[in-house]
Subunit: 236 residues, 2 copies
DNA sequence: CTCATGTCGATACACTGTATTGCTCTGATA
DNA sequence: TATCAGAGCAATACAGTGTATCGACATGAG
């Protein structure tokens, strides 16, 4: 057999790392939602066999965890926030923006404790912004309450957005958006309050609605923080 | 061929309806989580072929919608609530209890608009409890804010619960619960505020933590409702 | 008694996550 | 430099998924 007959040795497999894998997965999810992410497709996008991924990941759930952590990097704001309120507000808004960029995030948010490196940094900087303003338990409760709010709010917003997209593209028309079903139900007269809400409610855009609810919650937090004097320094 | 040789005619297929299907699906989900729900298994539990379900459901997602709506029936409280605050509070707590009974609910809550019959009744009675206490937009914002909070809070609670279950059963010990990873991370000194929180934070049980945050949010709502005089009767 | 209809089971398809298996290439050791 | 152990990988395989299609069959109408 001459050289000419022998094929070249197979080109070394593309070097892989978690970063590349996660990037591919995120790209897939951005395009087709979470359900478009399959290990096979992720691998294919990297010119690799599916099984190769298992050296970097031991389960698909772990891939999702990595994806979430990756996006949490987008959430971190570089500049130091002014006060705690600003810190929590931008955390909420940046999370929301991330979810609008990556709608699949809404499906994952709050679904598992986020203990990745970026998740920890987010937690740390959030807690740091409140540190010393009240006893730790109050601070914890504050952070948890605010984040519970915005996770729930983001989820709903994305859910509605998808529902709207699914039924025609009637952007601001709930009634038609959810099809004849809701209309028919309201017509039965069994849901007067709901009917009034749908009928007379002003259509505010999602962002202001989000911001409004957030402000309410932040007010509530402020009230509790104010209750105790800040534990500055060593008051002992 | 005598009668004795001929087999009996096949017993008529078990009568089916959505109720039975949903009940079977819920049973499966209660036992093994959402991922244990497959159309084949649901059908098998009803002595039916998988394809039969498609007369009652046209997609698996619809089955999930039905499951959620079914559980929402458990949420409705029979007696009329005293005031709006009580109404919202019991809505939140009953939703939480339902999610503790059916943990898979946490995965579905807020994932899609709940327009089923029971969902509508829940929405109606909630709105009714606030009707007239403020202009409709404020009422809507109030309901949305509170429900965003408790959906997020429930999700986190269930997520933590699962994580705890997965790693040993160290009920109240976050640090060990999440394994050496968190401990090691905290030991790096890069997360002082987080470390302090984990270290010095009191371990409150999930229910009081839920209730506390809920109260804060309800306070915030109260503040906004008080801002405008109630539009009772026809003040025109 | 015949025929149309609607329901069901069987089969099939494309695809999933992951366990297993054996090849091949690499780097260390003798 | 020759040998060998081990790692990294592709291929194969498996059990399972949601759902489309299709042929048979029981049922009710004429």
């Amino acid at each position: 057999m001459t050289v000419w007959d022998r094929p070249e040795p197979p080109t070394r497999p593309v070097t892989l790392d978690r970063e590349r894998i996660v990037a591919a997965a995120i790209a897939l999810a951005d395009e087709g939602g979470l359900e478009a992410v399959s290990l096979r497709k992720v691998a294919a996008r990297l010119d690799a066999g599916p099984m190769r991924l298992y050296r970097y990941i031991s389960t698909k759930e772990e891939l999702f965890d990595l994806m979430v952590d990756e996006v949490q990097a987008e959430i971190l704001s570089e500049e130091q926030p002014g006060d705690w309120r600003e810190a929590l507000r931008t955390l909420a808004h940046r999370t929301r923006q991330a979810a609008l960029r990556h709608e699949w995030l809404a499906d994952l948010l709050g679904g598992r404790p986020a203990m990745g490196p970026n998740g920890l940094v987010v937690a740390e900087s959030t807690l740091a912004a409140l540190d010393g303003l009240a006893d730790i338990d109050t601070v914890l409760r504050a952070v948890e309450t605010v984040s519970a709010y915005f996770i729930g709010a983001i989820r709903r917003e994305i859910a509605n957005l998808r529902a709207e997209r699914a039924t025609g593209l009637s952007k601001y028309d709930w009634q038609r958006a959810h099809g004849p079903h809701l209309t028919k139900m309201l017509a039965t007269g069994r849901f007067p309050a709901l009917a009034k809400a749908v009928h007379d409610g002003t259509d505010v855009d999602a962002e202001t609605s989000f911001a409004t609810g957030l402000d309410w919650v932040l007010d509530a937090v402020a009230a509790r923080l104010a209750r105790r004097p800040p534990a500055t320094g060593a008051p002992r």
